[in-house]
Amino acid sequence: MSAAFVHGVGTSRFGRQPGVGAPSLVQQAVTEALDDAGVDDVRELDAVFAGTVFGAPGTAQRALQLLGITGVPILTFENACATSSTALHEARHAVLSGRFGRVLCLGVETMTLHFSGPITPEETDAEGRAGLALPGVYAMVASRYEHLYGLEPKALAAVSVKNRRHGALNPRAQHGAEVTAEEVLASRMVADPLTLLQCCDISDAATAAVIGGERGVGRDVRIAASALRSGELWDHRSTHPWGYELMAGVAADAWHEAGIGPGDVDVFEVHDAFTIGEITATEALGITEPGGGCDLVLSGHTALGGRQPVNPSGGLLSRGHPLGATGLAQVAEAVWQLRGEAGARQVEGARVAAVETMGGGTAGIDGNGCVVVVLGG
């Protein structure tokens, strides 16, 4: 197989939905994705590559049986926030290698079952045990970034304002309200310098995509490249903020495979779990130079109507961040953008999209995993 394509995508509602279990969320997402792909018979699926971070063993099988998806190999991946984009990366290679003809990718998370506030740090992790919750991980990124390049609070606020303005145009967004920079900076401090409106919420949701070979259907979206790495040792020798070198390395792999560079991309979906994450991601992807991320967002380059919109869906900040489902949510937005189906948030003439998902939290390495996917072209 010379190329793999996204045949269809789907998502459930995003939001705190404690009364809605994984089986219901999965049925919403998978039904939409199968309909979108024109798959009338689930026996056309050769495998399921699922992902969940906090889900119980058997989460995927327990939900999929209700859709009649049984018997085929069902594999479950975990790679922190990059879980379902990892599933998509692996599904693409399974199709390219000929191992499977058509793979259903699935991401699902029911975070309100486990948390009422920030994700509880992992006690078996040296820094988690010391109380470094994820807002603290990203706050440390901001601290280091400020030390290296300078960091004005207005730049952090601009990311939140932009993405929440985008999300107000997305009917699937968990938080559809627009905010002002003043409101962002005046919201409760979570981890200096990150305020509440600079942090993503927990979410319950499922997402799905059908991946297969070329079938001559115009709505199918070609996966031009995908790259995956886990972090290198990140220790006393490191100078960059957490995650930067991993994201940059994975992005370089993806650009090399796609045969294009970041300047050729019309629209990005990147990992903005916290505002500083989008700033470092835009630099690591090569949209701007190291230290240029603040000017990039402040200039309007990454806003809808700008040269290269970033997170037209609203990103994790507005659409929501159901960890194991997030990667495929980003891919779904990219697919809708490339088909011209993104409604009021459509990036006019979008032909190439890139998705970046960063997963992390393990002390001592530069991230659990990062995936960059290039679509279209």
Partner: protein, 124 residues
């Protein structure tokens, strides 16, 4: 050096010469590490128990102001690169994070096992 408690955080030793942060160092390439290892993560060489300087430089810092199990907010934390040693996560006094490049000194551990540090030159 026992790890039977399963607590992954670095430990300290307090003696007549003051506080030392305990860990391991590769006998081949010299790589220092504060987490328990059997071999060097860089070169797979043998490692030996080591006591690192308690002093170093703040690399990044923040103050967490949200509820985290086992910790009462607000609490300030910092990455400190120990002199000729590993980078460790420490708790620092109050709710004002120590700026990067500040010299800091590990003074011991809290009652719950977190590394504690103060600006170098200050009393613990």
């Amino acid at each position: 050096m026992s790890t039977t408690t399963g607590d992954p955080r670095p430990r300290v030793r307090t003696g007549p010469d003051g506080v030392a942060v305990l860990g391991w160092r590769c006998t081949g390439c010299g790589y220092p590490v504060a987490q328990a290892v059997l071999r060097c993560p860089l070169c797979r060489g043998p490692v030996a128990e080591s006591a690192f300087s308690p002093e170093g430089e703040v690399w990044a810092s923040t103050c967490l102001r949200v509820r985290v199990p086992g910790h009462t907010p607000p609490y300030a934390v910092a990455y400190v690169v120990l002199d000729d040693g590993p980078r460790v996560l420490v708790h620092t006094p109050g709710d004002r994070p120590l700026p990067p490049s500040t010299r800091a000194r590990v003074t011991g551990t809290s009652g719950t096992g977190d590394l504690l540090a103060v600006p170098a030159g200050e009393e613990s």
